[in-house]
Amino acid sequence: MPVERVDPELVEFDVRTDEMLINMGPQHPSTHGVLRLVLRTDGEVVSSAAPHIGYLHRCAEKIGENVSPRQWIPYTDRMDYLAGMNMNLGWAMTVEKLMDLEVSEKTRHLRVIVCELNRIASHLVAAGTYGLDLGSFTPFLYCFREREKILNLFEAVCGARLTYSYIAPGGLIADLPPGWLEACERCLGELQAVVPELHAMLTSNEIFIRRTAGVGVLSPEMAIDYGCSGPVLRGSGVKWDLRRDGQPPVARMYEDYRFEVIAQVDGSYPRDQEYPPVPPEAVVGDCWHRFYVRMLEVVQSIGLVRQAIEHYRRSAGPVSEPIKITQKLPRGEAYLETEAPKGQMGFLVVGDGTAIPWRVRARSSCFCNLSVLTEISRGCLLADIPAILGSLDIVLGEIDR
């Protein structure tokens, strides 16, 4: 449907102020890392925001073409460093797809446990820093306190708190230590109690709603056009989640799990739990909805971890061993996208019969999500830029790779 477009660079002005070019970043408190935004502003109104990336580029893909898949695992950790488990999983499953490997049931459920826990941790960071972006410091610490508990669990599993390298092609580097599941359940219980607190401090806070509702509206069409995924896509009301809709290896991983894909469809969110109401000011696809989707996904993930613990307890046998470093890759290529906390994380691996992949490529969800920033931040106020950027929840390690 054709829409009459006005020149977005033209803004109403009361006083002739010079258009000011402002560098927001790469050292700025709310660019979530080393993103540099070049803002063209007229007073408080931003007429365009252009992201400049590459400050965290570490040649991860090129390195991947010089080491074996097993050795590249630590590099995937450093992509979305807030969700290392999910990055590990994406790479591991891609390599498994290339090599046509199957992992044991126990491994599958254990992977679900750690990945969903990491999704919760990542969403907690997103929620906390979003509060920070809007000037509210306290939720940040609430979120990080809960995240610490999850990191403690991960530390017990793999010895690392940020860069896990836990999931490897073919399996997992270790099984769970004794007593871990009980600790995990305790953690989930505490987490469940914190979610309403966060809803009270942010989701249903009047100022928060006014700062986010109707700001940075991303239409579903635009979201799909730009290749957005994850909560950004679902916040625009598109019910698409690779855990349900993905390629067979991904969907099969979650096949005996019950969970809702969180997205507002036909004006309502899934009603499997008690959630705070959607404020009337909120428009589908705005910052509020993107934030809300993340918060709701935390609850879903808590449920998923609970189910996975049950499945894990029921499944017998050992967890699968990862492949050897010297394991030769078959000729051919495999591409697989998994549902990482920030969106669809895709890996491509092309094998040429040696242990070293011939080509490695990572498709970053944050890269696509960030690319809508220019579009949805036109004509917003300066204070909306952190609000929009925070709601996109980017991690520069993944964008720049």
Partner: protein, 205 residues
């Protein structure tokens, strides 16, 4: 016996005059504004000394706190590189200096021409301390009632004392008109706001 009134008068008068001269001399418009603030704030000190406490507070509140902030705002809105300091020719300086100097001499002559003005009635510190209960009389005067009329010793002047209700009302209406007019004047350009267009486009696209 030190006359504190004199001390503080000298202090405030020096600040006032020095910064007033600095306003003239300074080429940078931002510094001019700063000097003007200092000068006018010191003027309010002079008002306090002259037992005009309500006027002094008003000077601080409206003039320094309101008008000058507005002025600084205007300075900052228009302070682009080339306009921060603009030079004029020495000939202009000379002309202005001559005119200003002549006026100054004229005013100084006038100020010192009356003998009664050169002698303070009493040791000036006492009334300054006692005086300054001007709030209520000023308020009443603005309502048209002159409570101080009875204190006027000179019966010839007593008849001339009138309330200020009409000027007060005129000034208040005038202020309203001015504010509306200023707001209208400053909003010179209107263009369509893209914020209205873009969300619509994205929603209906």
């Amino acid at each position: 016996m030190i006359n504190w009134h004199t001390c503080f008068f000298l202090l405030f008068a020096t600040i006032t005059c020095a910064f007033a001269v600095a306003v003239v001399v300074s080429a940078n418009v931002v510094r001019m504004a700063v000097c003007l603030i200092a000068s006018l704030a010191a003027v309010s000190g002079l008002y306090f000394l002259a037992a005009a406490d309500f006027v002094a507070a008003m000077q601080l509140m409206i003039y320094v706190g309101g008008t000058l902030v507005l002025l600084v705002f205007g300075v900052m809105l228009t302070a682009r590189g080339p306009f921060v300091s603009m030079k004029i020719t020495p000939a202009n300086w000379l002309m202005a200096g001559l005119a200003g100097g002549a006026l100054l001499i004229l005013l100084l002559c006038a100020a010192t021409s009356v003998d009664a003005w050169k002698t303070a009635a009493v040791a000036a510190s006492a009334p300054a301390a006692e005086g300054g209960h001007t709030v209520a009389p000023i308020g009443m005067a603005l309502l048209g009632i002159r409570v101080d009329a009875l204190e006027q010793a000179n019966p010839a002047l007593r008849g001339g004392i009138a309330g200020y209700l009409l000027p007060f009302e005129i000034v208040s209406v005038h202020l309203l008109v001015v504010l509306v007019g200023a707001a209208h004047l400053a909003r010179a350009r209107r263009r369509r706001r893209p914020a209205e267009a873009v969300p619509d486009a994205s929603r209906s696209a």
